[in-house]
Assembly symmetry: C2
Homo-oligomer: 216 residues x 2
Amino acid sequence: MGRLTFEISMSLDGFVAGPNQTLEEPLGKGGEQLHQWIFGLKSWRESHGKSGGESNVDSELVEQSIRNAGAELMGRRMFSGGAGPWEDDPNADAWWGDDPPFGHPVFVLTHHPREPESKQGGTTFTFVTEGIEAALEQARAAAGDKDVKIAGGADVAQQYLNAGLLDEVQIHLVPELLGGGVRLFDNLDASRVKLETARVIESPAGVTHLLYRVVR
Amino acid sequence: MGRLTFEISMSLDGFVAGPNQTLEEPLGKGGEQLHQWIFGLKSWRESHGKSGGESNVDSELVEQSIRNAGAELMGRRMFSGGAGPWEDDPNADAWWGDDPPFGHPVFVLTHHPREPESKQGGTTFTFVTEGIEAALEQARAAAGDKDVKIAGGADVAQQYLNAGLLDEVQIHLVPELLGGGVRLFDNLDASRVKLETARVIESPAGVTHLLYRVVR
């Protein structure tokens, strides 16, 4: 059985999205700059159907993560930016069009039932209303030997961390200050979560890739 | 002229002290565990008049920092844990007894005037009531070619960072979650502070030493 992993870009002051998230600016004010390091990488561009890009340690890291993942878990808000009934959600078809970059099954946590959808390139969206454990079970079955990856957002990762289900968290620490927004380490039972440093990689882009193992 | 530097141990969730700081527990609940990595190091023990200890990359880093510093700046609360007039402060003589571990001049930022004090081993305490720039000027004069180091706390570092006076900040990132307390990156004008990664060192103790240069 694969691991349950989570990785995310975080500002030095602990934010994974800036303040004032909107449909136009889903990562909030300043949130986009947390991801600048990834857009020019060969492996990231390939997974998004683009050619070219840099081959370096960052690109290898992203490639490894793509290769290891057999399925993903995703919060409703990350999927569409919305909440509530699907018929009232202006972005109910999500951000990624007909050919999303996942290439494997994605399980979306939601309180509102919806039929599964198959997209091009191997991406399927399955909407799970029975909670995080049921979603994980379905994702594990779909992933086989591969990892199940939490795509985000922070609140979904926090739920799995608090439930003792996460195996690894990788933080891409970006030397930016956002000053506000969504904190990664929030709403956690700090006394119950124990982490140990598994690997540190310094990026040519000034980002530090910090891999932590969850100790049980 | 040396640099103005600051270094501090920070939890993964961004705290440099835990909640409920008291005279008995000046680092707050759980704050002490941020510093476990340093107590066993040869260089730290030497500076505290103790023999033995480990010689490793962590010890070298601490030794370098001790060697580079010619003077320190410190907030009143770090000095004694107190506030207000000195005669009402139960810890007005601070934490370190007659032989403090600094070994050079220390400038304490306070609103309450007080005569300077000389201790053993080259430590002097000078109390500065004219603000952060005056204190820095005095510390620079005392440090000569060496660095002036901000000893803490977080609020003092924030004031120097906001004023554009800090050159370097080193974070010893500890894989602990405190869940509350004093945040390092708080009260900052994030839009005006720009940092770049200067060096990353992985510690055998699982701590990541992150050195950032302040860009002007």
